[in-house]
Amino acid sequence: MKQKLVVVGNGMAGARAVEEVLARGGADMFDVVMFGDEPYGNYNRILLSNILSGIQDPTDIFMNPLEWYVDNDIVLHAGERIVEIDRAAKAVRSDKGTIEHYDVLLIATGSRAFIPPVKGIFDGERLRDGVFGFRTIDDCTAIIESATRCARAVVIGGGLLGLEAARGLLNHGCEVHVVHLGRHLMEAQLDQPGGQMLRAGMEKMGVNVHLEKSTTEILLDPDGKITGIAFKDGSTLECDMIVVSAGIRPNSEIGLAAGLTVERAIVVNNHMQSIDDRRVYVVGECAQHRGKVYGLVAPLWEQAKVFAEHVTDRNADAAYHGSKLATKLKVMGVELASMGITEPEHVHDELIQFTEPAKGTYKKLIVRDGRLVGGILMGDISKAAYLMQAFDRESPLPEERLSLLFDIGAPAQAVTIDEMPDDNQVCNCNGVTKSAIGACIGSGLRSSTAVMKATRAGMGCGSCKKLVGEVVDFFCGGAAEEDPSIHYYVPTIPLKKPELVAAVLEKGLRSVSSVFRELGGGVEDPIAKPALASLLATIWAAEYEDERDARFINDRVHGNIQKDGSFSVIPEMPGGVCTPDELMRIATVAVKYDVPLVKLTGGQRIDLVGIAKDDLPAVWSELDMPAGSAWGKSYRTCKSCIGDSYCRFGLGDSMGLAHKLEKRFRGIDSPAKLKLATAGCPRNCSEALVKDVGAVAIGDGRWEIYLGGAAGAHIRKGDLLTVVDSEEAVIALSGRFMQYYRENAKWKERTYDFVPRIGLEKIRAIVVDDAEGMAAVLDARMQASVDGAYDPWKEAITPKTANQFASLVPVDLEA
């Protein structure tokens, strides 16, 4: 036996609620009856301003035409208003005398335009001829009809709807004035400067704006026709029609008459039920939830969903928890989005803003605890979708705040996670889709770390880790949990890097196994071994006890492992320079060992790819060149252009400087690889602006030093640290920066993340100005590392471990 669901109100809320019920199989549970006092099917009220401006026809904005009701077996009483709810009898009665019994009642009567108490605004019970509300299709038609005959129209109310109405009226040939009580337009959504810029924008379009005007009277001629309006300050404004858009009033009288608790609107609990009667639900603008009445559409969608989940028993715990307000203004010629608060409220609130009045661009964001709590975007709203989502979900913001306002460097995030298709790959290395991550959350995982472990997402090149975090957060509804271990240097030892360094020094731990034993509870985490080895090498330099098993295979055999288990051999070639003799030796070795591929690398070196592990010592010996350090988390190489030795544009000896840098820093361990470049002039042929450290000659012996550039998985232009006047100063400051980076960066944190995280100002203070008095210590520690460095290819002669280069140990089974 089906129950009967009666819906009072056929607006966006009522119809959406019914759609949500039907989507949950509600047609088998309920006979649905709807009452709407307008003689139409349901339409999208938000688009009324488009009707007014003539962009759309009324037929364009219908969401559910009358056939929809027929197709879904919904009985629609259009043009009938409910005048009584008899809760004892569980029945409603319309103004036309229709009586319907209900098992469940949904009140979705919405709201109406608030008409302020102004003398002469009413003619008896009705609005005076020439005075219009702006809430329905009928209002729109009447306004348009009147506007074509009028010379001057006044809109009372400079809020969102009032401005939309004013813009629409312009298209009908009359002069348009907006009168507003407040000190600036849209004060619910804008601050003072934003309001001023909006006013300038509206006036440029031809809408006259009058602020701080309190309307007291409608002025009439002896025939009762409108001639103007009068204000409290004694001034008047001529006009022949008036549109009132001074806010809305919930249509909650029906609830009051039925004995339901009504404050500003009908009061509901978290299930959207009246607090007095569990058979009566209320959604939309006539509902008051936790003291709030919402006039925007997004909250209404959420409420309709909660109602449907609950009434169909899909989820007896379905609960609405209130909405965060964000909106876009739909006024042709004005781009405006607003969310949350408009001014900082706490001392620690971060204010980020940008103004360009000539272009009408204004951007203001308020960040609290790394989350967006308010924002205004005017003129350029390209970041609105991303920001509104971040606001709504309270997701963490990127540390580079500038990227919140503008798309810099990285390609624009074209789709929000909301819009991302389910089968979209989030992690390309391991083929993990958005829906696969969703499935993990569905099975109970709550942190990025757990999801990455389960799916391997983010564990390839790592460049998608941030996106994985965002997708996890999306599926957790903004409530992803943070794994505390992400702050540790390695997950199994609960110490941040500075704490770990202090403990290592205090206990004098010189080997990875001793760190596991003393600080890690004896647990040997294989993934943590290389991270700890790198740190200990940095701390102890020559005193580091090098347990080779703690090193990744590349660092055990000093080459880069390839997909077939072979290795690449890249000899040192500072600045991309070698002698003809060296070149011939390389060729001879390549022929002798039948090297499958000889390749020039991005770092201006020659790569012999595909060497068997067993051949490595012989290859190195025959090359008789130092190792190029092309395999590890270490200083890698310094690229260079020709510089002033030959280039007619050269301003400095870039090749010579590259040589000096490489000879000094080669093979130095670091948290992630360090790629350098020197350029002989600002043409930057060697791409020094996108290197971890780059030096650019600018003439007269002077060099610019850039830090934190990248052109790999991330693109970032380096930050200009300073300008120095000698090669020696480039070497000294580069070394000091690299040492600071070695001591403070997280494992695998490239300089393009490290520099913005620490902040260029702070780095400059430490490295250039020595403001913290650390320079001498940093220099000394770097010197110790330089002194402790050795050419690992010398292990060709004296291997470090048993069978170090044996791909196979033969067994004599007869023995």
């Binding site: 647990v523 294989p526 943590a528 492992i561 140990v809």
Partner: protein
């Protein structure tokens, strides 16, 4: 390897052939086996290539009884061969240190 009968133990030489904390490949007859020597002093033997993309497991990192493939960081148990969170598993072979600090491994056949 449960379906295949294991043969007798093979002596593959002194334990010093494998540095502590590392692995090496050994050729036993026609078969290549990866053998590991842990910090706890245990010996483990597994198939030589990773079932994912044939990575050389003997070049992997080990910690405790976990083995990480050097190519794509797949993690396997040295004791059971199981990869955490998947159905994938390595073949593992009984191995021990015998008197005289030599390594003995049993392989199928």
């Amino acid at each position: 390897m449960s379906s295949q009968e294991l043969g007798p133990e093979h002596d593959i030489g002194p334990v010093q052939q494998i540095p502590i904390g590392e692995g090496r490949n050994f050729r036993i007859g026609t078969m290549t086996v990866a053998v590991f020597h842990t910090h706890a002093g245990q010996i483990y033997a597994t198939q030589a290539e990773c079932p994912h993309k044939r990575g050389p497991l003997a070049d992997g990192l080990i910690g405790g009884t976990t083995l990480i493939c050097p190519l794509h960081e797949r993690a396997f148990s040295l004791e059971t061969g199981e990869e955490a969170g998947t159905d994938c598993r390595l073949a593992v072979y009984p191995a021990r240190i015998t008197a005289g600090a030599r390594i003995a491994v049993r392989i199928p056949g």
